[in-house]
Structures are given as C-alpha cells and as structure tokens.
Amino acid sequence: MPNMREIRERIGSIQQILKITNAMYLMSSSKLKKARKSLECTEPYFYKLQSTIESVLEHTPHTRQQYFDRREDIPEDKRKKGYIVITGDKGLCGSYNHNVLKYTEQKLKEAADIDNCYLFVMGQVGRMYFQRRIQNDKKGYVDGEFLYTTQNPTLYRAREIAEQVLEKFEKHELDEVYVIYTDMVNSSLQEPRTLRLLPFERKHFGKAADGTMKKLPKASFMPSPEEVMNYLIPQYAKGIIYGAMVEAFCCEQQSRMTAMDAATNSAKDMIKDLSLMYNRARQAAITQEITEVCGGAASINEE
C-alpha cells in the first residue's frame, strides 16, 4: 500500500491539472458558441454555393477557359496534386488533428506518386507534422511560406489563399487542387472530407425527372462564358475555402471542449479513487498504531 504522503501529493497535482482543464473547458465552450454562430451564418452560403455551381456547370457551354483545362495529356503519375489541409493551431483537442492528419496521409498514399504532392497546410500542428515527416523521408513537398492560422476565419484570408492556389494552377505548378477539412456532421460526429477545387468539370448530361439521361439546355452567359468564369471561379474557390475554414474551426472548438470535459471528468474520478485510497491508508495507519499500543499495554500487564 502506498504511503499517505505520496497519495496526498498525487491528489494535489491532479487538482492543479483539473483547474487547468476546467478553465480550458470554459474557454473553449465560449469560443465554440461564437464559432457555431458563424458556422450557422455561413452554412447556407457554403451549401448553396456548391449546389449552384453544380447546376451552373450543367448549363455551361464548351469553353476554352483555363480552369476547365483538365490537362489530360499529363499521365496520372506525373500530375501535380495540391492539397490544402486545414488543421488546428494548437493541440489538446482530442482526436481532431489526428483524424485530419491520418486522412491526409491516406490520401497521399492513394496518390500515384507522392513526390508530386504539394501540401498547403493551415495551422501549426499540421505544418509541424508534415515538415518533420518530410525531413525524415524527403517525400512530398510542403510549402513553407504558406503561413495561415485557422483561428477566427476571415474572408480576407480565404481570398489570399485562393489567389495563391489559382496562380499556381495557372502557371502549371499544380494540375489538381483539393481541400481537406473536417466537416461537422452533427455536434457529436465530425469527419474529415475532401473537396475538389480545380480543375472544373463541365457536365454534358444530367438526369431527367424520369431517370433517363438527357442533354441539358445551355444557359446564356453575359458577356461570354470565358469572361464569366474568369470571375466566377476565383469567387467559388474563395467561398469554398472560407466555408471549409469555418467548418474546421467550429469542429476544433467542439472537439477541444469535449476533450477538456472528458479530462475534467476523469480527473474528478481519479481524485475520488485516490481519496478513498488515502482514507484507507490513514485508517490502516491508525489501526496499526492502536494495535501497537494495545500490544504494548498487554505486554506490560503480563509482566
């Protein structure tokens, strides 16, 4: 049985940690409230943007616009793939970062040639992870100058990121661009997800109401499809990146809150167990003392 002093010290240190986790819980829950509000405001835009673009693409006539260039002449293993990965700036948020990183690793494994993968990582945790990984086996490529925080997403930041990525695509430094972020399915379920940003794909056929495939009617574009797409695609990229950032930020706060809540609870449990052990040890010590005293008294009486 461990002695009383040891147990007391342990209870003390657990109480200190409990205070910290509890404070972090309170902080993240107030941040979550804010993040969730902005998510609620942005979600209609995010989903509407995706569905509208989808229907716009169904009505787009053939264009030579550069963002539609699928570069089919480049074989699969030579294609340069860009991934915008959204992670957190800090740890201590349960499996949030871990899930995104694992998912990204899996995507990299699926890619034909890992040397042609370019990572644009948002958030310190992910950046550190991939930089270390690449130092070790020199595979893939992380843009070291891509320094963006994921805290409190703004349109301004999304615009900068979109501009950078589109420029790289135009210069043929990237052939495909994906966004990897964590999607909030509901408050208890979050899962990493990929969205394809570039190149765009025009749909020739759509499903009609009776289930048969039919040729879609073309909408008119003013002044011309190319001109409209020149504006529309950067707009879309920015919207998608912003939406993903908002989702991811909300997920981060949510999982930090859950993790800290769990930590606080298990600290409380531990304190309960240890107090029991402490009391037992105390009781045992007293009992032993009484036995000793009694034993001593008895031996004196006998003499």
């Binding site: 835009y45 320094l147 003013m222 409209v228 707009q235």
Partner: protein, 136 residues
C-alpha cells in the same frame, strides 16, 4: 400586381434576402441588367456595385461586393461575399478595416507565440532532465 419570381440573396455571413420580387436590377460586368419573371436562363458575375429589387411596389437598394447570379425563369440566386443595406454600411466598413488589422496582428502573434512556447517548454524540459540526471 406584376408577376413575381423567387429571389435569394445569400452573403457569406448571412442570408440577406429570400422572397418574391417583381423586378430586379443588377450591375453586371458590362452594365445594368433588369430581370423580371420568365427571364431566360442566365449566369453572370457581379462586380462590387449596387443592386435594387422591387417588392410590393417598393424599390429596395443594397450594396453588394463581388458575387455571381444564376437566373432561371422562375427563380434567381445571388451569391456574394457581402451584401448590405445602405443604413448598415458605415459601421460595416469600419469593422472590416478593424478585422484586417487584427488579422495581420493575429497572424504574426499566433506564430510567434507558438515558437515562444516551444522554446520555453524546451528550456524547462532540459532543466528537469539535467537535474534528474546529475542531482539526486
């Protein structure tokens, strides 16, 4: 009353407007376009500018920054970065400017803090390690 169509104006930070309108006038890249019910399918992008729409015989005005519009015969959707009523504008602009400044600060701050914390942690760990190794 004239025939109406469904209009949705969605900004990144809120659903600005959703409802039936009789007439919509937007500033597209190459000039003003008026849209009424039964318009042919049209897609065009909207630079920063003004838009107005007619609801129950009353014109409503709004300032819009970069976006695009998809017009269908019976409905239209406008997706834009921001969209605001004239009376909201000044405060908004001030807020945005502040946001930008804060953003730049935060960007620097966050990275700096991370490295500082990491350095502090390293120092503390090092001290603990050495004291445990040589001083028992």
């Amino acid at each position: 009353m004239a025939k109406t169509f469904h209009l949705e104006i969605i900004a990144t930070d809120r659903v600005f407007f959703s409802g039936e309108v009789e007439h919509l006038v937007i500033t597209a890249i190459d000039g003003l376009i008026g849209i009424m019910a039964g318009h042919e399918p049209l897609v065009t992008s909207l630079p920063t500018g003004e838009l107005k729409y007619l609801v129950d015989g009353e014109w409503k005005y709004a300032a819009i920054s970069e976006g695009f519009i998809q017009v269908m015969p019976d409905s239209s959707i406008i997706l834009a970065d921001t969209c605001e009523l004239p009376e909201e504008i000044d405060i908004k602009r001030a807020q945005e400017a502040r946001e930008r400044a804060e953003e730049r600060l935060r960007q620097k701050q966050s990275i700096k803090e991370y490295y500082e914390t990491q350095a502090a942690l390293n120092r503390a760990m090092n001290r603990l390690k050495i004291s445990q190794k040589h001083f028992k």
